[in-house]
């Protein structure tokens, strides 16, 4: 084997990922005096978080005084179909308001109420208007604010640097470092670290129609699992009900829920507001039953019950799916989302400027005049690395996780706006957890050279192979089959089919062949990401087969009802001797004072 030169670094805490979670974690860890660095695949400031639109949920009570963390907690649990880790949901609801104020303290400019406080907007599944926002570019505001904070603190950033393997000391089950490569030249880089925080975001890129960017390959999920960490709830994937469906090139690009929060409604080809036909029992008592009631709720929440357009995302996505299947869809296979006939052009342009431009520039549609065409798009992974609610540590010592890559908070379905607040609440906790851990760790653990060599060989394989398939083709095959066989509506038969497809693609991956050299070569980068996507696809499908019920982001045509038995079980996914195993685990039950919250209606 050729000898490769490897650049080496040492940090107390290494943060993988520069999204909202990673940045918050790094800022915290630095504040505790640990030497800290951030690594990210894209340029600094381009993480997914920058695309988040609608807002961040926090029960600040600026618009509805009745709102408090308990209501937020309850909404989150019910949205997650009670499968959430209750302690995480509690911490999240309690700490989110402080994190919003903290962003403001660092320079963020949220939209305001009349009294000069932070304005909050309505979103699906939230009882009260609760999302702090900046027009429809809240994620941008959050990421820039954190980014500038990080820059002013002088945190070291390795950008366009991809981590490919985590290094673990097998004897103590503790993290020792990570190996990666610079995208620019393909040179290798090795980090020694006392603690590592994974904040690599989502895994949606394994689906054909997705709101995720090329980065959403779930590297962190897969790497952590390979390193021995336990994963949880991998079967739950959120399909956001409103993605663009036309033109083909933008299929999947997100249309924020803020459109509905600000008054937009869903209609089918017969111009009917069909959501009134899809109100599930669990939400019937608090959902409007007539159009008039829904409309008056927009004016004042005490005048009526909330509109069914703002049911949790899983419900809305399924409803759209059924309408389209029943032949009542829009010309390009979605449904209509109409705000033009309900709000003035000035209001729309002011509240939803980037949606306005997105449709105008990409689809030639003026949303102040015409309805949009929308359909479900793969959006968010509820499942992820199983972490301790207090410290965000995984089942591997010194390995922490925060943000979308961590599982537990959202249960079977995430409420809109709960992700941005999740990022900062648990980003901060992970930063503190890792800093504490690093401080209590005397010295850096040695990194096993054999593991490094193995990883390098694996990374260089696509250049050594010949006559294999190209990575783009394999990726496309995975995307198409996941979309078809493990999408919104699933059956045992198709899932099993998907499993063998994954096996098949894994074999192809072993001989994947790329052109050119290591110099900024997207083909090679994709070839390396394939391994992660296939690993995650397998975890997802295996867990999905085991969950023989329909719940949240997991709908089984062969088991259409939610079952009580599965309602108390989380599936833990882990790698044992190189193969992926799924095991059911009883969910923690919450203390009485919290359980109390769900009793009164």
């Amino acid at each position: 084997m050729t000898d490769y030169e490897i650049e080496e670094h040492e940090y107390d805490v290494l943060v993988i990922g520069a999204g909202g979670a990673g940045l918050r974690a790094a800022i915290e860890s630095l504040a505790f005096g640990c030497s800290t660095a951030i690594v990210c695949k894209s340029l600094f400031g381009k993480a997914h978080t920058v695309m988040a639109e609608g807002g961040m949920a926090a029960a600040m009570g600026n618009v509805y005084e009745e709102d408090n963390w308990k209501v937020h907690f309850r909404d989150t649990m019910r949205g997650g179909k009670m499968l959430n880790n209750w302690r995480m949901a509690q911490i999240h609801a309690q700490e989110a308001p402080d994190r919003v104020l903290e962003l403001e303290e660092w320079g963020a400019l949220f939209d305001r109420t009349e009294d000069g406080l932070i304005l909050q907007r309505d979103f699906g599944g939230h009882k009260y208007a609760r999302l702090a926002h900046v027009g429809d570019s809240t994620g941008l505001e959050m990421l820039r604010t954190e980014q500038q904070k990080a820059a002013s603190l002088g945190i070291k950033v390795f950008s366009e640097c991809t981590i490919n393997r985590l290094m673990v000391d097998k004897k103590t089950n503790s993290i020792s470092g990570a190996l990666g490569y610079w995208r620019e030249k393909g040179n290798l880089i090795k980090f020694k670290a006392k603690a590592i925080i994974i904040a690599t975001g989502g895994l949606g890129k394994m689906y054909a129609i997705t709101s995720n960017s090329w980065e959403g390959t779930g590297d962190g999920h897969a790497m952590a699992m390979m390193a021995g960490a336990e994963m949880v709830d991998m079967e739950f994937v959120q399909f956001h009900p409103t993605g663009m469906v036309w033109p083909p090139s933008v299929k999947g690009i997100l249309v924020t829920e803020g459109v509905r929060g600000d008054g937009g409604t869903l209609r089918n080809s017969t111009d009917k507001r069909f959501m009134f036909n899809y109100i599930p029992e669990m939400f019937a008592s608090e959902t409007a039953s007539t159009e008039d009631e829904a409309d008056s709720w927009y004016e004042d929440h005490s005048l009526g019950r909330r509109t069914p357009d703002l049911l949790p995302r899983d419900e809305v996505a399924r409803a759209i799916n059924s309408e389209v299947k029943a032949g009542r869809g829009s010309p390009h296979g979605g449904v209509f989302l109409d705000i033009a006939s309900r709000r003035s052009p000035e209001y729309i342009q002011k509240r939803l400027p980037s949606m306005y431009h997105q449709f105008k520039q990409l689809a030639g549609v003026d949303i102040t005049k015409e309805p949009m065409e929308v359909g479900p798009t793969c959006h968010y992974a509820m499942g992820g690395i199983k972490v301790n609610a207090e410290t965000a540590q995984s089942s591997v010592n010194g390995l922490f996780a925060a943000g979308e890559v961590a599982g537990g908070l959202h249960g079977a379905n995430r409420l809109g706006g709960n992700s941005l607040s999740d990022l900062v609440v648990f980003g901060r906790r992970a930063g503190k957890g890792a800093a504490d851990y690093a401080k209590n760790t005397e010295s850096f653990l040695p990194i096993d050279q054999i593991e490094i060599d193995k990883a390098i060989q694996n990374m260089m394989m696509p250049f050594d192979n010949s006559n294999g398939e190209n990575p783009y083709t394999i990726h496309k095959e995975l995307q198409d089959s996941m979309q078809k066989l493990a999408g919104i509506i699933r059956t045992e038969e198709e899932l099993v089919q998907m499993l063998s497809k994954v096996e098949d693609l894994k074999k192809k991956m072993l001989s994947v062949t790329v052109e050119g050299n290591r110099w900024f070569n997207p083909g090679w980068h994709l070839a390396l990401d394939l391994e992660f996507m296939l690993t995650n696809a397998e975890s997802l499908v295996r867990a999905a087969i085991e969950r023989k019920e329909s719940r949240g982001g997991h709908t089984r045509d062969d088991y259409p009802e939610a079952s009580k038995k599965f309602g108390e079980i989380n599936f833990i996914i882990k790698q044992v001797n190189g193969s992926i195993k799924v095991e059911p685990r009883q969910s923690d039950s919450m203390p009485d004072e919290l359980a109390e919250l769900f009793k009164d209606k």
């Binding site: 941008l140 820039r144 033109p247 496309k476």
Partner: protein, 250 residues
């Protein structure tokens, strides 16, 4: 499917433009066509992108000589068979194909003053009115595509100025801090010196290319220049200062 003639820069500084005939669909954008090329005939073609919706500012390049986001250039604006030249941004050192080394921008980001807010009200909250924050919100729309930096002739044509001039993107950032309704410290005029504001000759190319629609020149650069003028060149303020000095002198 119709074809276009994509002329793409390939390689590093010693590279060349290579023509490819690529299929496209009317509903697509340039970036889609570049991706099609990448998944077929030019698999190692280096190009940056993330959101494909004009939100992340990754896919900056020069299309027919104009700095623009590839994901926001619709193919309907071109005719079948047309030649489209795609080059990397000129102002930054080339890495490969359409990817340039934009690290200069990140160095500048560390130079500009940090925000330091006023104290919170007694209930632990800040109060600002919507009218107060709208100015800053415009600046916060920046997606860091660096197209303004690319087009600015101060550095595009005179790279030697890079040490003394942070560029329009960072004037926007300085403005957002300097004009922040809660800003306390950096209001000092000294916070405006040393960034090369006076190199800008307000020819407005940055505003012309900004995909976020920020009126960089009118709303950030000129107002900052005016704040400097307050400090240095305003005759009325000279007088004011002389008088107040005279008084405090006594």
């Amino acid at each position: 499917m119709p074809l276009v003639d994509l002329k793409v820069w390939r390689g590093d500084d010693n590279g060349e433009y290579i023509s490819y005939l690529v299929e496209y669909d009317e509903g697509e954008v340039i970036l889609d066509v570049v991706h099609r090329l990448q998944s077929t005939d030019a698999q190692d073609l280096a190009v940056r992108w993330n959101c494909k919706a004009g939100k992340c500012g990754s896919c900056s390049a020069e299309v027919n000589g104009k700095p623009s986001l590839m994901c926001m250039q619709r193919m309907v604006n071109f005719t079948p068979g047309e030649e489209i030249i795609i080059s990397p941004m000129k102002t930054f050192p080339l890495i490969k194909d359409l990817v340039t080394d934009v690290s200069w921008n990140y160095e500048n980001a560390r130079k500009v003053p940090a925000f330091s807010p006023k104290k919170v009200d007694t209930d632990g909250k800040h109060r600002m009115q919507q009218v107060d924050i709208e100015r800053g919100q415009e600046f916060h729309q920046c997606i860091e595509c660096y197209l303004c930096q690319d087009v600015c002739h101060v550095i595009r044509d005179h790279p030697e100025n890079k040490d003394n001039f942070v560029g329009p993107r960072f004037f926007v950032q300085i403005a957002s801090v300097n004009m922040h309704p809660l800003e306390s410290a950096s209001q000092k005029p000294s916070a405006l010196y040393g960034f090369g504001l006076d190199y800008c000759n307000i020819t407005k190319c940055c505003t012309e290319v900004c995909p976020a629609g920020i009126k960089i020149t009118d709303n950030a650069i000129i107002p900052l220049k005016e704040r400097l003028v307050d400090d240095k060149y305003d005759p009325v303020r000279w007088l004011g200062r002389i008088i107040s000095k005279g008084k405090s002198g006594k």
